[in-house]
Symmetry: C2
Subunit: 153 residues, 2 copies
DNA sequence: AGTGAAAGAATCACTTA
DNA sequence: TAAGTGATTCTTTCACT
């Protein structure tokens, strides 16, 4: 279980994981060793999945975010396998969820422009048979995007 | 502009930013100093937005991902301000996009369970007047979720 | 782009409450 | 069981080549 100190550490690290042990330790009124032991425990127990660098979409020339809503009639395990194989490994697909509701799947796709999206789209509908409805919804503005989860009390 | 070495460094760091300079440098056939200078440049020029720890939803008791599709008739700047103020600062809202198409906004919300989502939902529809259609779509499975952007050639 | 030195941070064995 | 000290080792950073 997590105490208040653990939660504070997790919050700080999901904002910025370059903070040094010293800084983290001071913030929770510890010295570096007990703080380090906590971090290691949080990592070992799986609270921390990893530490990553976040890159800038625009700088990389990725100007277009598309949300793809998909309906299908195929519900066999084999079809699902193929679908996931063909799509989840495409680097432009950042997120991919199976949904409950009107649509069966939601995909977040990051591409350079409409041209690139067109290529992706063709690849998708050609590669995966049995897609009933593929609705592409384009993002006009990114109001918020964070990787920081709400850390409960 | 980015050369092949820069791109490789960016790719490695968006997988795991705890890699030491030595490891990174070896991977791109450099010694640590020139490698470090590149990283600093990539950071200064804004290619790297930050380095963060990724936490585990389940471990934090966040078992429910909801995508909220919103239609509105309000399009004034003032209304938009209020809407964004009231929603973007809610920690359960991880992502929030303005869309082109049938729906006006898409929100990704991470909560513990249906109960918590109910609270969030009530807070949303009470706090923000003029929401025409708020469709909550629940994720059944997370097939893919990555923060790693495709790094172009 | 590289060398080598200096500064800084993480890690650990051991001690204390 | 949790925190602290101090030594060791590993990393980052920088002046200089």
């Amino acid at each position: 279980m997590l105490d208040k100190t653990d939660r504070k550490l997790l919050c700080m690290l999901q904002e910025d994981c370059t903070k040094s042990l010293q800084v983290l330790a001071e913030a929770v009124n510890l010295t570096s060793t007990p703080c380090w032991k906590r971090l290691r425990r949080l990592e070992d127990e799986g609270y921390i999945r990893g530490r990553v660098a976040l890159l800038d979409n625009q700088k990389l020339g990725l100007g277009l975010t598309v949300f793809v809503l998909i309906k299908t009639q195929q519900h066999s395990a084999a079809w699902y396998q193929t679908f996931v194989q063909l799509t989840a490994h495409i680097p432009e697909v950042l997120a991919f969820y199976r949904l409950a509701g009107e649509y069966d799947y939601l995909m977040q796709v990051e591409v350079a422009d409409m041209n690139s999206y067109n290529s992706f789209y063709k690849q998708l509908v050609k590669g995966v048979p049995g897609l009933l409805d593929v609705t592409s919804t384009f993002a006009m503005a990114k109001i918020k995007y964070t990787t920081a989860l709400p850390v409960p009390e």
